[in-house]
């Protein structure tokens, strides 16, 4: 913590203090929290904050990965390494297993973003989780700009944006009936740039795909996608090599890369500071469906 003699802290310290407060509230007031850990930078920062909130004790809750089966291998490696280092219990909610058991069906376009939701809700019910930490930030998307820190979900996991609990001061209301749950977003007030500054300050290691690397890609809808088994090239689509990095990490079939030479955290910060396109706008095919694509998925229980 950078403390000046005038008893002042920086904006990063203040954001960190707020997130730690939120995490401690959840553990104090709810019975079975779980942290959604995708191996993406936001969930990695969340995990660091959880470490800080309960030190020198262990993180007092498990982590859960909703595995679409369309993974970047670098991210899976990172996930397993991190979980082992911290001695955490990892719950995997598997979309491939849910497809095999008939819980969900593959969507026509092959994208697994939307069918993650029932898989997530099924795991929540099975493990009786009553609080789910998510790494969503309000600056990401406009439906998320109206999200609460403690966001109530009914017994179907649904979000009702018009009927949210008012949230005043730092008094968070986590009360719920059995079967209902609370989604908790400790990074609500962080921006993409704040996250990167924090990664730099805390020297947090990220999966390598966040930094510039050479990769075989194809261009689709104006975005660059990695060529892999989940995303074969369509007729007329040309494969080519490009130097890219990922701004977000999601399902490998709908997350695009951006052209970049930023191979260090400092260079990424410079790039993020200069960019004029939001991270989801630049890299997420799933948000391009409609003006309200995110809101509709969130209503159904998406994170």
């Amino acid at each position: 913590m950078t403390v000046t003699p005038a008893y002042q802290v920086t904006h990063l310290d203040e954001l960190e203090a707020e997130s730690i407060f939120v995490m401690r509230e959840v553990v104090a007031e709810l019975e079975r929290p779980v942290l959604l850990f995708s191996g993406g930078k936001d969930s990695i920062v969340m995990l660091r904050l959880a470490q800080k909130a309960f030190a020198p004790a262990q993180i007092p809750f498990p982590v859960m990965h909703v595995d679409t089966g369309h993974n970047f291998p670098e991210v899976l490696d990172y996930r397993d390494r991190r979980v082992a280092e911290l001695g955490l219990h990892l719950v995997v909610a598997s979309v491939p297993e849910a497809l095999a058991s008939g819980l969900v069906r593959e969507s026509a376009d092959g994208m697994r973003n939307r069918i993650q939701t029932p898989v997530l809700l099924d795991a929540v019910e099975k493990h009786r989780f009553d609080a789910l930490f998510g790494g969503a930030r309000r600056d990401e998307e406009k439906a998320r700009a109206k999200e609460r820190m403690f966001s109530f979900r009914d017994e179907f996991g649904q979000w009702d944006p018009k009927n949210q609990r008012p949230e005043l001061w730092s008094l968070y209301n986590g009360r719920h009936h059995p079967g209902e749950s609370i989604r908790v977003f400790p990074l609500s007030n962080w921006t993409e740039l704040d996250v990167w500054h924090y990664i730099a300050r805390e020297r947090i290691e990220l999966p390598s795909i966040y930094y510039a690397h050479e990769r075989e890609v194809l261009e689709r809808d104006g975005m660059l996608y990695a060529v892999n088994e989940f995303l074969p090239a369509r007729a007329g689509e040309e494969r080519f090599k490009a130097r890219v990095r990922y701004r977000t990490v999601g399902d490998a079939s709908c997350t695009a890369a951006v052209r970049s030479d930023a191979d260090t955290v400092e260079k990424v910060i410079g790039e993020v500071a200069a960019t004029r396109i939001t991270e989801r706008g630049a890299t997420r095919g799933d948000d391009r469906v409609s003006e309200a694509a995110m809101e509709d998925r969130k209503r159904e229980g998406y994170f």
């Binding site: 913590m1 802290v9 262990q58 730092s170 309200a292």
Partner: protein
């Protein structure tokens, strides 16, 4: 507004990566309606600080064009929900972010019309500053007074009145001063510690980032300059030590043994190793052995730090207890006098009603003993015949709690003086309370 007029501002390097000096954080609430140009102002601040992204602007332009708007409706940037866009209204508080090299800003953008009290109270509860907009052509309206009153009720330390659309009154000093004088006179009747009035044109960019050449008679700062420099460090209470215990850390480990730390966020005051402290409600005293974070011990803890406090003596302390000083402690009180803002549309607050209370990290149940009056927030008239408080109504109540609250007056301490009221059946947050007196 046409997008052509939306020329890039010159708050250059606003999003630059490496800051020469540490940035701090200012949270502010905006109040006003679309008609006052609030969305335009927010759009302008975001745009001029390069916090508005091209894909966001393109999406808004597309929707606006499809609807046949004559200008790009920047309220679409903040009206994120489907129902809001369909009905052209703002339903809920939206949070927006921008930064300059000096400060990071969090805007709680509260709608002007619908549910204004509930949303304004929510947005103002965490705000360091509130920004109220009026249209220079119309002057103060009922809504401006309501917003000023709510800011004073919530003890927002800094208030800024933006007299907008100055371009439409020929940048008239006389018009500006008439509005400024009228508002200043009204604010004097309220509890407004700091008031700044700025003549602006959000659309044309006058006095937003730089001083306007169209208003040479105005000697004050441009709005962004004021937001960047308004002194907020002294707003914190560094005198009264209040540390609500949030969680007790006791590692179940063979490596770390006999560790017992009290985790929480400092509400006010400064805690240092060696300080004598008292723990409420037990009243036991001890000394601070260490103040720790995950990064190691610190020499002092103060708001808004989240830390872990360890004491010299083994005392039974649990969540909801409060660490303070023997000669400076909050009231340990079950009879609470408070101003309450009611936020539930289905059931009004009623005398004799029983509710759950959340105050600092403490939970209690409470019964409404009496409702002294309901306040008309337009006239400030007190209606003593009121028997209930409905949605968006504010009144003075007396509560009796099942367990003592460790409470300060809200005007002295926004953290230990505020509480929320929760319906025990629906679990919804139905009211916000500000303690006037605790005994």
């Amino acid at each position: 507004m046409t997008t052509e007029t939306f020329a890039p501002g010159d708050a250059s390097d606003a999003r630059a990566g490496n800051q020469a000096r540490p940035m701090d954080l200012l949270r502010f609430a905006t109040a006003g309606s679309v008609d006052d140009g609030k969305s335009t102002l927010i759009g302008r601040l975001l745009y001029d600080t390069k916090s508005l992204f091209t894909d966001q602007l393109a999406a808004v332009e597309a929707v606006s064009a499809a609807r046949g708007d004559e200008y790009t409706d920047l309220s679409l940037l903040t009206d994120g929900l489907r129902a809001e866009r369909e009905q052209g209204i703002t339903i809920d508080v939206a949070y927006r972010y921008f930064a300059t090299p000096r400060r990071k800003f969090i805007i709680a953008d509260t709608p002007g019309h619908i549910q204004y009290t509930r949303n304004m109270v929510t947005g103002a509860s965490t705000a360091d500053l509130a920004l109220i907009l009026v249209d220079a052509r119309k002057g103060l309206v009922e809504q401006s007074r309501r917003h000023a009153f709510l800011c004073s009720l919530l003890r927002v330390p800094h208030l800024v009145l933006c007299v907008n659309k100055m371009d439409l009154v020929d940048f008239s000093q006389e018009v500006f001063e008439r509005i400024a004088d009228e508002f200043t006179a009204f604010a004097a009747k309220l509890d407004v510690p700091d008031l700044t009035v700025v003549p602006i044109s959000a659309l044309k960019g006058d006095n937003i980032v730089t001083r306007s050449e169209n208003m040479p008679w105005y000697e004050g700062p441009a709005l962004l300059h004021h937001l960047e420099r308004v002194h907020i460090a002294s707003d914190r209470n560094l005198v009264d030590v209040r540390f609500p215990v949030q969680y007790v850390i006791r590692p179940q480990s063979t490596v770390v043994t006999d560790y017992r730390g009290y985790a929480g966020q400092v509400a006010s005051g400064v805690l240092k190793p060696g300080d004598e402290v008292m723990v409420l409600p037990s009243g036991f005293t001890s000394r601070i052995r260490a103040v720790e974070t995950a990064d190691g011990p610190v020499a002092a803890a103060f708001p808004p730090m989240s830390v872990t406090v360890r004491l010299e003596d083994e005392i039974d302390i649990s969540r909801g207890d409060m660490i303070c000083r023997p000669n400076n402690a909050p009231a340990v009180a079950q009879d609470i006098e408070a101003m309450v803002c009611w936020m539930d549309e289905t059931r009004p607050l009623q005398i004799g009603g029983k509710y759950a209370i959340k105050h600092t990290t403490r939970a209690a149940r409470a019964i409404v003993r009496s409702l002294h009056y309901r306040l008309d927030i337009n006239s400030l008239h007190r209606d003593e015949s009121a028997a209930e408080l409905r949605l968006n109504e504010i009144g003075r109540v007396r509560l009796r709690t099942t367990v003592p609250l460790l409470a300060d007056e809200y005007r002295r301490n926004r953290t230990t003086g505020g509480f929320v009221i929760i319906d025990e059946t629906t679990n919804r947050t139905v009211g916000a309370g500000m303690i006037v007196e605790a005994a």
